[in-house]
Amino acid sequence: MRFELSDEQELFRQTVRRFLETEAPLSTIREKWYLSTGFDKNWWQRAAGLGWTSLMVSEADGGGCLSGLPACDAAILAEEIGRSCGPGPFLPVSVAAFAISAYGSAEQRSALLPGIVDGTSTATWGLAEAGDAWTVDDLDTTVAADGEDVVVRGRKLYVEAANAVDWVLVTGTSSRGITQVVVPAGTPGMTVQAGRSVDLVRRFGTVTLDDVRLPATAVVGEIGCAAEAVERQLELALLLQCAQANGAVGELFDRTVDYAKYRYAFGRPIGAYQALKHRFADMLQRLEFARAIADSAALAFDRAHVCADGSAEAHELARIAKAYVFDAGLDIIDDCVQINGGIGVTWEHDAHVFSRRVALDRALYGAPELHKDALVDELGLVAR
């Protein structure tokens, strides 16, 4: 339960909720399953008009958030999207826009961000590679300087909305270290193999970069110096995933509690049986803890990156949040499906819609297992 929202944030949350309920209600999600992009571009522009794509862009670049804490504001939005399993590439657009606004050149910012902010263009991030590889030190994609150009070679997997976006932020390595480039859609040598996901409306793709030649101005920041940027992008992606998952899990939980109050068996509401009451209490505990850690991770991100205070904590809390929120989230969903009974495993019931979203985000940007492993390394117990 969020109780620390300002009036402005609360208003924003309600506006988002109303917009999603009227313009992308959960009841229509099964129709969108048949669309190739999963979202409508006009709809996305209306969402952008409400400020969805401005939050992670600095005011100097035409963006702006509500509270001065952009990730906290974006997390409010992500949670609402999760509640209704809303469509649209909010997560990858936010991360790509943040990267350009925070690390891009003046030219990149003025060329790329206005379209993001008004919703006429969209973008995504290509990080992972084949074999479920999300670790930056492990990338095969290369960015090689060649005179006035750079040449990018590699294959990026699990790229969200790859088929729909105007540009892709690609993370690779160069002889000088981690490097990121902006690759516009349709650049010669770049091919997108469209793909689907277990989520009903979020589409993915594999981006192949076959000696893609770009001007050196496509590099974001200095060549070889993107390690910190990638770290921050990953933190942002993780905390938005967590907020979104909490929204989805919380919604299914609330609905299931209601159901247990009105569904009768053997003369009593099923929610009167201690066998279920106690499970609900356990779920509530984990859900509240999940919300607390997701909010704390968002706040730590803003403290580190807006107030330049405690980047180590932001890094650690993002990992902890990912591990906790998704371990708890999947268990809660699983329990809720069971309590909903047979109807809970039908296509008509919404349980699978929430379950799909959480199962998808569990895997993206590193599963809990990956982040736990990294946490233990960081605690000083190096794997051997």
Binding site: F3, A272, H278, F280, D295, L317, Y324, K372, V376, L379
Partner: protein, 410 residues
């Protein structure tokens, strides 16, 4: 919301800080006893910061109190042993006691001159407190107490107990109870025995026996036969204290005090794992132990804040309590795995306390004391989620009849 005549929290924090720096020993300096420390606070007007002045408090708010512990007291020692006495019993007395009792006891409680405990649970039942068998019988103008209480924390060093006992067996169980103040030191008929923990250590809690103990009439807290009402107030304050929003102690003091066994401390787990030949299967479990503790820190702080500012009802404290009760045995199992043989076998001929094995055998303590996990789950599902209450067979039956039924059943 706040009274404009009140000193602002910032002014108070500054004034308090200046006093703390001059008067309180630094952390780690044990030259003063806890009692001396509490008396020092009281004499300077910093005990019972949110309690009324007429009973020895400072007449300010919980925000002032929190500022004292979070800001003013930083780096300095504050007393920690009086939290139950002040934040649970003292505040219950403030809410439920008459003027005579409040004037007599509250200043002494706040100064640490009197330590109070609660005497609610009995050997015959811990969760179902309203089924108390201890009895109070009229004697001239006072009462005679007979019975036994159990699981009372720190009873060996307590001066007074707030005791729930039955004054009427002919009415249903909640209607025949009375709360009385029982002097525990040098009182004829009072026997206090410590309870030995499963790890062999004499625990901080005790069992008390009362044999024909005389209780003067003016020791009744609240009205005769309305003891259940008083115990509900007491439990509400206990819950507030568990949520970190209690009178007397700030959040910092509490969150540092909480936590599980040292053998399950993630830093210890990492240290121990590094000495092992193999860590196969252990890394993810160490991460789990670490994550639970880190997440609970943020969740507990948030819930405490919510309760303190009134955004959450005190029942939310049960989430914190339930997690503590579930996590203690869970992380203790992880400690058993990581410490391995070295946690359960050692050299020498002496018993050793505090290894992973001994911690494990008492790790269910937090899942039982202060309201079992099952009680917390009932409370959360009923109060916070609005699910139907558990049916109780004995609420309308005269208590004497319930007892007869019980002996027929068993």
């Amino acid at each position: 919301m706040t009274d404009p005549a009140l000193e602002s929290v910032d002014d108070f924090a500054q004034r308090a800080r200046a006093w703390v720096v001059d008067h309180l020993p630094e952390r780690g300096d044990d030259s003063l006893s806890e009692h001396e420390l509490q008396a020092l606070l009281f004499d300077a007007g910093f005990a019972g910061i949110a309690m009324p002045r007429e009973y020895g408090g400072a007449g300010l708010t919980l925000r002032h109190q929190q500022a004292f512990y979070d800001r003013a007291a930083q780096g300095h020692r504050v007393p920690t042993v009086f939290s139950v006495s002040i934040a649970i019993l003292g505040v219950t007395l403030l809410d439920a006691g008459d003027e005579v009792l409040k004037k007599r006891h509250l200043p002494r409680i706040l100064r640490g001159d009197e330590r109070w405990i609660q005497l609610l649970s009995e050997p015959s039942g811990g969760s179902d407190m309203a089924a108390a068998l201890s009895r109070l019988d009229r004697d001239d103008d006072g009462w005679i107490l007979n019975g036994a209480k159990m699981w009372s924390t720190a009873a060996m060093s307590a001066d007074w107990g707030m005791c729930l006992a039955r004054t009427d067996f002919t009415v249903p169980k909640h209607a025949g109870l009375t709360m009385v103040a029982v002097p525990l030191k040098n009182t004829p008929g009072v026997t206090i025995q410590p309870i030995r923990h499963a790890n062999g250590v004499e625990a901080d809690f005790c069992q008390e026996f009362f044999d024909d103990v005389r209780i003067p009439a003016d020791h009744v807290i609240g009205e005769v036969n309305e003891g259940w009402k008083v115990s509900k107030i007491l439990i509400a304050h206990e819950r507030l204290a568990a949520g970190g929003a209690a009178h007397g102690y700030g959040l910092t003091a509490r969150s540092e005090g909480g936590g599980g066994a040292r053998t399950a401390d993630p830093a210890v787990l990492v240290e121990v794992a590094r000495r092992r030949r193999s860590t196969v299967g252990l890394r993810q479990r160490i991460a789990d132990a670490y994550i639970e503790r880190r997440v609970s820190k943020f969740a507990n702080e948030r819930i405490a804040t919510g309760i303190r500012i009134g955004a959450l009802e005190p029942g939310w404290g049960s989430i914190v309590k339930l997690h503590m009760g579930m996590n203690s045995p869970r992380e203790s199992k992880i400690a058993l795995a990581v410490h391995g043989c070295d946690g359960v076998v050692w050299d020498g001929d002496e018993p050793v306390a505090g290894n992973a094995g001994e911690d494990w055998v008492i790790s269910r303590g937090p899942a039982l004391g202060g309201g079992s996990n099952e009680m917390q789950r009932n409370l959360l599902s009923e109060r916070l989620l609005g699910l139907p209450r558990e049916p109780a067979r004995d609420v309308d039956t005269p208590f004497a009849e319930s007892l007869r039924q019980r002996s027929r059943d068993t």
